[in-house]
Point group: C2
Chain length 202, copies 2
């Protein structure tokens, strides 16, 4: 196994900025993070988390794009899409310490900062005010999950695409069409039709 | 408007038990809750929250069953089901202070304890350790949301029903079949077929 690589102050800064935008975390938490976060990378196409495994860490994306997917009857269904400066894990696997059905795959070469479940929980115990950040960030991602669920529940392909654009327009052009179609639960042909209609409207 | 009714110690106990099972909340938080929670009730069929409104409060269910639903082309789609001793709100509406697409409707006569957004946030500010409870409860409901999303993504009706039974077997017999079918995204006929096959397997 390769030695654990800790992030430099510069590499840590975007994550500290995210946390501090929710609640000031203080110098001691910064030091804790620098000592307990580790650098990780996954190449385009590789899996960060595989279904059936327990998701041991939660990751901050420094660079790249990832997707979640489940498999049903040998077919992949994309469940979410995410990009740099976001946080990522298979949430049931990470929080419940159980194997989940979900996979996480790199759509581009990715650089990540990970923290292990035990180290995050030690942080919550040692610095209780960090629970304010933890609460706010969980609330935020819960809202994202509800917005995704809303897309899944809708039947109207144009409405689905419209909400998808609202949420992901800043990186949707980096996602292969097959993953967008699968995420929306429509065929690539329907997606192409909806996209050309949407661009015609501009 | 009728005067605000505060819960008795006895009425408050199940909620305190829920909070204390996550992290001890202490006497001062209990007193704050008693002073700021209010009693509410909705009759069977009535809406607790209507789409287009901002969800002003989050509720603890003392008694009864509720469902979330969205409307698309005049058709209702059930998005979740919940029961006593659970917490309920249209989460995007409550956290983002924006009108959501979601409605909350009582499936049975319901008794609830509500807390307004401002009063909950004052609680988080005044007693920072309550953020530990807030974080843990948000994590728990985020996991529930992911489990629901998983059902929605699947195509196999039997698999959908199986997971639904795992999650809701303790109150599924209180839910009219039309809502279960809508929640699973299948027809009532398919649901009946899946149910008789499942009961035959026992």
């Amino acid at each position: 196994m390769s030695p654990v690589l800790r992030p430099s102050s510069e590499e840590l800064q975007p994550l500290l900025d995210l946390f501090n935008s929710l609640h000031p975390i203080g110098r001691r938490v910064e030091v804790y993070l620098q000592k307990n976060l580790y650098c990780n990378s996954v190449k385009k196409g590789e899996l960060l988390v595989k279904s059936g495994e327990i998701c041991d860490s939660i990751y901050f994306i420094k660079k790249g794009v990832l997707r979640g997917f489940i498999e049903e009857d040998g077919k992949e269904v994309t469940t979410w899409l995410t990009v740099e400066n976001e946080v990522v894990a298979t949430i049931t696997g990470f929080l419940l310490r159980k194997p989940t059905m979900e996979n996480i795959q790199a759509i581009e070469d990715c650089e990540l900062l990970g923290i292990r479940f035990e180290d995050l929980n030690r942080l919550y115990l040692k610095y209780p005010s960090f629970n304010i950040v933890g609460r706010k960030i969980t609330e935020l991602y819960y809202v994202y999950a509800e917005q995704r669920a809303y897309i899944t529940r809708l039947h109207d392909a144009e409405k689905k695409y419209e909400i998808c654009m609202e949420l992901y327009s800043h990186f949707l052009n980096r996602i292969p069409l097959k993953y967008i179609a699968s995420f929306l639960g429509i065929t690539i042909e329907t997606l192409s039709r909806v996209r050309s209609r949407a661009s015609g409207k501009k």
